[in-house]
Subunit: 338 residues, 2 copies
DNA sequence: TACGTTTGTTTAAACGTTAAAGCAACCATG
DNA sequence: CATGGTTGCTTTAACGTTTAAACAAACGTA
């Protein structure tokens, strides 16, 4: 590595003291009454020497790192990798650095990652919290750390969050199947205590109720994350034994992917007999003969909003706390040509 | 944020000078002849006060950030998001921080991201270089920056890299189709000057030659990244007009995804008439009736190897430079049950 | 002409580390 | 019993910033 140029070098070059250079280069020249003339000289020299500020030194002094920690469930899951990408882009534009960590939906891993990021002195967090992480996050908030929850939230927690209205999205999804005249509508969800997943189940129940249909608990499948493939296989088998279902609502993209795989493995033409609807976009569905309707989440908007909220909070412009709900869109028809 | 505890606090607590604390806490107690007794007292106090080192201060002093920059084409592409995930995990274990940037295969974006990461004082880079980025990377190397190229490489550049043997992988893929008795074998690639893509084309040619077949240039399709969907549509149409092909080898997962989509859109049963083989794993293929053979890249190994190489280089254990080629595996049959 | 104010700059101090050099007390040795 | 080497610590300085306070010169005013 070449010897980096510092404020000192510029100061020497221009023949002026170090703070003057600092003032000018951080745009505080005016308020520190630096003469226009020297300001120009400093700027010129800085450019000539290709000065790059040492962010470590700056952070040390200011106690701000211009870095945020982002903890998602798993960056290799398309939903989260898309979210990650949006956050990355937006942060880049705003000159913030992002450090990602994957929790793998496990509290223990989450806590480790959190600690790791805290030790990196990040200015704030965007978090898609896993189950049981509420205490860790409360703790964070107690210490006045800036946090924005994304995709998920906790009931009774006064925290910034950017989510969708899972209940009504789920009502719409279920209702779509009801409107098509289906009677035995199953839903497949993860076994989880997370509020947003509970909301999706609620939506399912509510839609059925509104339609005056009775809920058959056998049609509500909860998949354990520990052995999703095995459980899905069993579940799909059950749903199609005895009295087969005539529609299935998968509550996440990963569930849908595995579920469809099992279904198609069982019967190549199954989608001619069973209607399916899915939460989240997934390029996978392009390959199926039948278009699979899906509940499209505004990933881009979510990421951007979360980052804005967070930065506002970090820079002290944040009002109390905000809970932002974005709209979803049920995609039922022809795909958009891009 | 709460007032952080520093070395000073521990020093005061134990009644000893600051450097002593530093020595003990960085494991240099012995070599600085700190007595066992005080060392223990210091460690105890550090734990009691829950001391977390200020990495900015440390970096300022040591000129090392324990941070690496990773520039990939696009984190939301499954191949790269999987790679990102592996690197994240591995870095986490080795206590290195990772900052990701996406180049979007554009030199200009790449340079911006590079500059951004450089200004963050990263200790080194893992890079999947886009087209035309050779000068930027040469420049980096000239300044003795630690760099490991991944997935791609440049001919005649003395740089660490972790890649696969694209030529022979491509020969195998093509050969697989030849063995099945196909005569008109098309291949779909990106229009690109990148060496690894050229290698894949070479492999295709070589396999045909070895089999004593003549190359029909009409069967070699190059897709421009500017308008991939449109070009793919045209290409697929052409391949199936007049004299239809009887096999297609897609050279990347994104090409395959779009290509298959177009093919299936044209004719739902097309895979009964045309054999397809693909570079890269993709969960998408689960949905197709026919198993699609694919060339599996050792993503995990690639990420881990790249990180090891990089860290060795950063910490000065690196020999000259290394070009590491990992093996690929042609997956042709029953999928592994997990 | 003296005095407060403005203008443009410098000096000093600090952020939390690490690295080198300094120093005192002790020990063993010839 | 002076000498030199350990042992265990402290002091000093530095990394590159930012911030506050100090200062000197020039100016306007009385």
């Amino acid at each position: 590595m070449k010897p980096k140029v510092s404020l000192k070098d510029i100061a020497k070059e221009v023949g002026v003291s170090i703070p003057l250079v600092s003032y000018v280069l951080t745009g505080k020249g005016k308020e520190n009454r630096v003469s226009e003339e020297t300001a120009q000289k400093i700027l010129k020299a800085a450019k000539a020497l290709n000065y790059q500020p040492n962010l470590n030194a700056r952070s040390l002094k200011t106690n701000k790192t211009k870095t945020i920690g982002v903890i998602l469930a798993d960056i290799s899951n398309p939903f989260f990798s898309n979210l990650a990408r949006v956050i990355e882009d937006e942060a880049f534009l705003r000159d913030y650095t992002v450090i990602f960590g994957s929790s793998d939906e496990k509290k223990e891993k989450f806590d480790k990652v959190l600690e790791f990021l805290l030790s990196r002195q990040v200015d704030g967090f965007i978090i898609a919290p896993p189950q049981d992480s509420k205490p860790s996050i409360s703790n964070l908030l107690k210490q006045k750390t800036s946090v924005v929850l994304i995709d998920r939230y906790f009931k009774d927690m006064e925290a910034n969050c950017v989510i969708i209205d899972n209940v009504s999205a789920s009502v719409s999804a279920t209702d779509h199947l009801i409107q098509k005249g289906h009677k035995r509508i199953a839903t497949v969800a993860y076994k989880s205590k997370l509020a947003h997943f509970a909301d999706r189940c609620d939506g399912y129940y509510r839609a059925l109720e509104q339609a005056g249909m009775v809920v058959d608990e056998k049609l509500v499948v909860k998949i354990d994350r520990e052995s999703p493939k095995k459980e899905m296989k069993r579940a799909i088998n059950e749903l199609f034994s005895n009295e087969p279902v005539d529609a299935i609502y998968f509550q996440t993209n990963t569930l849908a992917e595995e579920g469809l795989r099992q279904m198609l493995g069982m019967d190549r033409d199954i989608l001619k007999k069973v209607d399916v609807i899915v939460f989240d976009q997934n390029s996978t569905y392009h390959f199926l003969e039948n278009f699979i309707p899906y509940m499209n989440q505004p990933i881009k908007k979510m990421g951007q909003t979360a980052l804005s909220l967070l930065i506002d909070d970090i820079e002290g412009k944040g009002k109390k706390y905000q809970k932002i709900q974005l709209g979803t869109k049920l995609e039922t028809g022809v795909e958009s040509e891009l």
